[in-house]
Subunit: 340 residues, 2 copies
Amino acid sequence: MVATYKDIRRLTGLSLATISKYYNGGNVLEPNRELIEKAAADLDYQLNNVARGLRSRRSMTVGVILDELDSAFNTTIVSRMEERLREAGYGTIICDSRKDAEAQADVMRFLVGKMVDGIIVVPVDDDASFLVPARDRGVPVVAVDRLVPGTDSVIIDNRAAIASAVQLLTTAGHTSIGLLAGPDSTYTMRERRAGFRDAVQDRTGLLPRTELIEPEHVSIEGGCAGVRRLLRLSAPPTAVVCANYGFTLGATIALNELGPESRPALVGFDNMDLARLIRPRPTLVAQPIEDLAIEAAELLLQRLNGDGPDEPVTITLDTTLMIGHESTYQLRPVPSNGRL
Amino acid sequence: MVATYKDIRRLTGLSLATISKYYNGGNVLEPNRELIEKAAADLDYQLNNVARGLRSRRSMTVGVILDELDSAFNTTIVSRMEERLREAGYGTIICDSRKDAEAQADVMRFLVGKMVDGIIVVPVDDDASFLVPARDRGVPVVAVDRLVPGTDSVIIDNRAAIASAVQLLTTAGHTSIGLLAGPDSTYTMRERRAGFRDAVQDRTGLLPRTELIEPEHVSIEGGCAGVRRLLRLSAPPTAVVCANYGFTLGATIALNELGPESRPALVGFDNMDLARLIRPRPTLVAQPIEDLAIEAAELLLQRLNGDGPDEPVTITLDTTLMIGHESTYQLRPVPSNGRL
DNA sequence: CTGTTAGCGCGTTCAG
DNA sequence: CTGAACGCGCTAACAG
């Protein structure tokens, strides 16, 4: 049987109130303090945070809803959040929505029923109706990697991210650039695609040929298939930009099967470990994933302490272009059109 | 304010007991049932699992302690466990021990204080003393990927795993094989190293030269450094076996910098995604990571339902040797010594 | 500073 | 089948 205040009372003769005060930082006479500490040690006593939360209405746990668990992106997100949250005394309940809106709504109800004090979520799509249960109960929500109107959000500057990739390529002389991007239903994909269009138009003065934008299922397979499809075009692009990590993996796999001569330039997205594994060393748009997680956790903690901003805020972080081996972004042979 | 039974009572005129019964599968008269359902819908009522757990002494949450969060192995582990556990109604609190025994002990106390019903853990080392708080409170623990005496464990057959790699290499004619393995303090490393020794002796009739066993810091860097050190030996091995995923990555990186002629054969460990990214396609000892997670979750659920075996059990799963491009495991040039 | 008395939201006896 | 009463472990008023 696990020990409770009553057991400590039995051993010390003190009242429950005194014991409670001891555990809540109140002033307790030195001899009593010692009595309690001894009894607690003897009983191997452990505070019951559940009962405690019943009164204080704080479970000291937060829910984290990810759209998938086994991706490098979300792995880093979880890791950093858990670190920061537990530091602040919070437990982290993770839930995988598996990119399914219904599952996401289920999970939200599940977490609300678990009385979590706050929720961090990477939403599956733009439909924010799943947030209702949290709103109703005043549970603060922070969205990550998606802009959710009316809700605290921590995102990256997706348009600038893609623009930096396009700029690198156009500077290297590319004028025909393909993009591998997912459906517009996802915020990041929509933004990156728009960023691509704008940047290409901006840099080359032309609208990108629509064939160069390949809407694909967001996955490694999609990246493989997409790059192959791009290269089968009558006028294939000389460079390809990948709008996320899965596409980058897939495109790399597909390109590995090509000879170096016919290989287009490639700018990938995300994961930095990749840079060390693949030859030629890839050029990547690196997201500040850890900062994304830390900022989100910090923002939620502020809300939980009641000292956040009055209005919902949006925190936007910048990406970094990691230049790889030059063969990954330069034309080869290099028919420099004078831009470089 | 969030609704409680009392609010439902107010709207229905029923007693708390009846409402409780409704939510716990008891028989309630049809009209009353409808009353409750209507009131619950109006109030947007949500059962308070915390209060509920106070009495039932079940928090319906389990703790999962990993030695690191951002590794492909643990990512898969978490993903599958969360899936299975939530299916069974349990929330999953994840904690990262960061391969630190003290942090692990902290986390254990944290979880016990959170009244988790059970714990799944990938322990950092062989010291099982951190389990005491759980034992004291009768919280069932399942260890994953480590054999913990007296505790339910789900592991792979590490010796056989390495033996399969060695067998492949010796069959291909290799007699001088290096191993990249971590310190003996980790169960898996100890087992894989022992498996290596046994297998080499078994197959070649010789004890492996000790220089060929490189104890390294378990990391990508260790893999890089280890393989370079092996190749600098006066008589470098013609093949290298990696005892984990990090080493495999590191070794691959290091080998990428070598010309194909001087490149030793390589058998890696773990992650299957890797196989698709790297050229030449690597040969890998693939662990059934998902099964590891599922079996562990299943075992814990049994314990939570009180219908598990009387004694602690050990579940051992088998690995699969994934043959990559033949250049990754065959001698080149092939001085077949008649074994093949 | 300490003890007493009420609950927190819900589950579980018991009567009825 | 339903209702009243009590208790889960702890915190928050208030008195002393």
